[in-house]
Amino acid sequence: MADHARSEEIANYKPRTRVRLRLKEADNAADNVLSVMTMVVHPMTPGIERDAEDNPVIKDGKVSILEHKTHHLVGWECKVNGEVVLAADLSGSVSKDPIINFAVKGVEAGDTFALSWTDNQGFSDTEEQVVKGRKKK
């Protein structure tokens, strides 16, 4: 399976990663909350082999996956100042252009936020941003 050349679509894929950060600052920095909105531009193609009736082909209790057609994220990980805060294992049944939104406590302005991911075809990307504070009223 792995010997198949990748489809043109996969070969032409260009990783893009978007992160939007918003820091809510409290009087005590430990109570700060960073809301994180992330999106990876990715086809998330499950590559499931289907029969003539469009039903998934099952082999030995497992869904048959066409390795040369499948293209989805596998590992996804967010770090603050190098420390992993949220990580995920993903399959092809996560929607196209995966959006994952969450919030991290105790983040301060000037901290570094990074999202890294890998997919099953060897692509990967990292988006790093410095957390910006807001002017206090």
Binding site: P43, A88, S93, V94, V104, G122
Partner: protein
């Protein structure tokens, strides 16, 4: 043909290089066997090693539409009440009718608020489960989502 072959060689080289760069991401163990299984019950027991999963609906808020307008992009939000269920360690999303029922597993550190939003594909009308792992055990919350068109094309 020789041109195609050389391109494949280049691609394989790039993939090998990318795999090396990607090494640090393996900080969390992926149960790839469970991810590939097509049967819901089997996938669940493989992922959680047959541990008991308690109904956690009083401590888990699972927000899903009643009817998925576009099943390929179904919004799902989960909030876990840690005072009831204990410190959140992971959330796994499963859709029973999907060819591969496990959508994703999220691993939480203590610094992340116990809530998360994402979008999953649904292959028709199905029960969707959020299986929450805390330091006290495994809990689940479920909801049926109606969908007429399959969301798992490709």
């Amino acid at each position: 043909m020789s041109k195609l072959f050389s391109r494949r060689r280049i691609v394989q080289g790039l993939m090998a290089a990318a795999a090396l760069v990607a090494m640090p991401l393996s900080a969390f163990a992926r149960n790839s066997e469970a991810f590939g299984l097509g049967d819901f019950a089997k996938a669940r027991s493989t992922m959680f090693g047959g541990q008991d999963i308690t109904d956690g609906s009083d401590g888990i808020t699972l927000e899903l539409p009643d009817i998925a307008e576009s099943p390929a992009k179904t919004n799902v939000k989960v909030t876990v009440d840690e005072s009831k269920l204990g410190a959140l360690k992971s959330i796994t999303f499963m859709a029973e009718a999907n060819p591969t029922p496990i959508s994703a597993k999220f691993y939480f550190s203590a610094r992340v608020e116990p809530e998360l939003e994402t979008f999953i594909k649904l292959a028709g009308t199905t029960m969707v489960h959020a299986i929450v792992e805390t330091d006290k055990g495994l809990y689940s919350a479920s909801k049926e989502v109606k969908a007429t068109l399959g969301g798992c094309g490709g």
